[in-house]
Subunit: 372 residues, 2 copies
């Protein structure tokens, strides 16, 4: 277990989300505002090669840098332009997809006033989007759209009302006789229950898959999984019991009482990214009578010796980015299959421990869920 | 019309949200983290008198200030402490309730890394909450909670899917035979469809009122009302037609098709704060066959000469803060009543053009809606 956590940490530390294999080439001057900018903001910008360019107004500052840039160089140092603004371009293309970042202005940590904010690293960080060649599958298209509902569910164990977001597939309101399976989907360390919608576009991934007839419609429930305060680097001190109680004894009964679910083990899945994968693994092994489909996205692996209840598990899905630990994921799936489990691996090409890996993983996972 | 806009502007400019009548008194050292801080953040803090204290880490900065502080002094200038952080306290108590603010760090505009962000002034700003003596009515309590649904509705006129948030009262899913009236509720200039939930706590105001049996349950729909780009100070150039088309021809039919509404004029209300009040006034006068209950919150007034369709209007509600233009609101309601309208005024004590005025206004308005 500890080894698994260490692997996650090492993989994450080695991958800053940057395509370090590519050498610096001539920068094409076709920069456009990032799609994650605040309304009307011109910067940050992204070009067709995946370079990011930043512009910060702080005429009296002594130094401004951006946390994004090629690994080991401490990000991108901006230089002062004639108009008093600070500008700079990453010294290489970034991976396609979503990246968190922040500014350092005269030794202080701030967000980019041009960018939208996303909860990661236990704070609201700036976000930038490098258009992916396969972005169509999570784009906002003219298809029937599901809803995302914010619910507040009572939690006796933590003595408060807790928040969750619930994705409801299109068509849910049209047939009151139809009930749906449910996927419980967890965020990573330092993130919260907003991550899968905001950074992951889980709703758009599902809307598009459903419109193409590629997946059965199902409900997705996303709630906050850090009921213990866990510092980064101390995940091995994580205790699952508190969150397991919230999820299994409080949230699931609330969802089954308030939504038209198929409220049995065979129609209930759990998945999570990074730390959420670790939580998924712990809870599904502890509670085989609750979930039948398990998925770890950049969140370690199951092994046949893990005492997985053979009679109850219908699917084990393991994924990661090609710049993480793809062999670990693939080998684990080979072992699981040899041991008779229905196991599937997926490796996201040219991505690391980052959201494009997880958007793609959800896109691969959804069609495999609740097939009978 | 132009005069009305000028009044709104003047009132807003004269009121920075500060209780300028109070002289500086001894500051009580009982500061606590603001309830709107990011998880685990100690600053900004607020004391029992309503003073706010800020702490920013930027050891190499030359100057750091905060936009909140007594009027005319340019906010609060922070001073460098021995540990390299910048600290400062407002030179007077702030009004109770919610305030937007930002930092100026070496001439650059940034948000406070300790605070949550809220969309206002056409950007995501930092927010701070001064606990109000009457905060119980918008607090998260152990009562049945409604849901907030994020929907994406098709808009041919703007050629995109547009976002709205829909408050669904508790109990909605329990009786499929019950239909509900609808309030269309608009944000102010520079804000967006997130404002009434995030800054306004509209869902909690409603949950609490419904739990106490003080209002009929109804649906609230909140969408983005700035379909034209309007610069502040140029509201008189605002054209209502674009948003009116989105609201009346696209959103309302979508809501009536996808939620269990009572889809007629007498069960449909429109309200808005500030610019949203101006929009409400324009659209309700243009479309008396669509709405029956009208409310302007710090958003100007109706007068009997405005050609309000006497046969169709069931309620006109006008409100503002006591530090805005209370006489204007009260006098308008007297005139409307003399002319035979069911008009109600509400003045929020000791508040200005700010969210506590609007939380309280919604709390007063809701019980008056859809009474028959």
């Amino acid at each position: 277990m500890k080894n698994q956590i260490v692997i996650i940490l090492v993989v994450l530390l080695l991958n800053g989300g940057f395509c370090s294999a590519q050498s610096q080439s001539k920068i094409i001057e076709d920069f456009k505002p990032s799609t994650l900018n605040q309304p009307g903001k011109e910067y940050p910008q992204v070009n067709s090669q995946g370079y990011a360019r930043f512009r910060i107004e702080a005429p009296a500052a002594q130094s401004v840098s951006v946390s994004l840039g090629l690994g080991g160089k401490g990000g991108t140092i901006l230089t002062k332009a004639e108009d008093g603004s600070w500008m700079g371009t990453t010294d290489g293309p970034l991976d396609e997809g979503f990246h968190y970042y922040h500014l350092t202005v005269d030794s202080g940590t701030f967000n980019d006033p041009g960018a939208l904010n996303f909860y990661g690293s236990v704070r609201w960080e700036s976000g930038i989007e490098i258009p992916a060649h396969d972005q169509d599958f999570y784009s906002l298209k003219d298809v029937p759209h599901g809803k995302i509902e914010q619910i507040l569910f009572p939690s006796k164990s933590t003595n408060t009302s807790r928040r969750a977001f619930v994705y409801i597939p299109p068509g849910y309101d049209n047939d009151q006789a139809k009930n749906y399976p449910v996927l419980y989907l967890q965020h990573g360390w330092g993130e919260d229950e907003t991550a899968w919608s905001n950074q992951g576009h889980a709703n758009l991934v599902m809307d598009n898959l459903i419109a193409e007839g590629k997946t059965k419609p199902f409900i997705i429930v996303m709630t906050y999984g850090m009921t213990n305060e866990v510092r980064w680097g101390h995940l091995n001190e994580f205790k699952i019991e508190d969150f397991q109680t919230v999820l299994v004894e409080e949230l699931i009964p609330y969802i089954d009482a308030n939504f038209r679910t198929i409220a049995d083990q065979s129609h209930r899945a759990m998945a999570g990214l990074s730390m959420g994968g670790m939580e998924t693994r712990m809870i599904t092994l502890n509670k085989p009578e609750v979930f039948s489909h398990y998925a770890l996205l950049s969140g370690g692996v199951y092994k046949p010796v893990d005492n997985i209840d053979r009679s109850k598990v219908k699917l084990i899905f393991l994924s990661c980015g090609s710049r993480e630990n793809p062999d670990g994921v693939k080998n684990a799936v080979v072992s699981l299959k040899e041991a008779g489990y229905n196991a599937v691996s997926y490796v996201s090409e040219n991505t690391a421990h980052e959201f494009l890996t997880w958007r793609r993983s959800l896109h691969e996972l959804a069609p495999l869920l609740f097939k009978d």
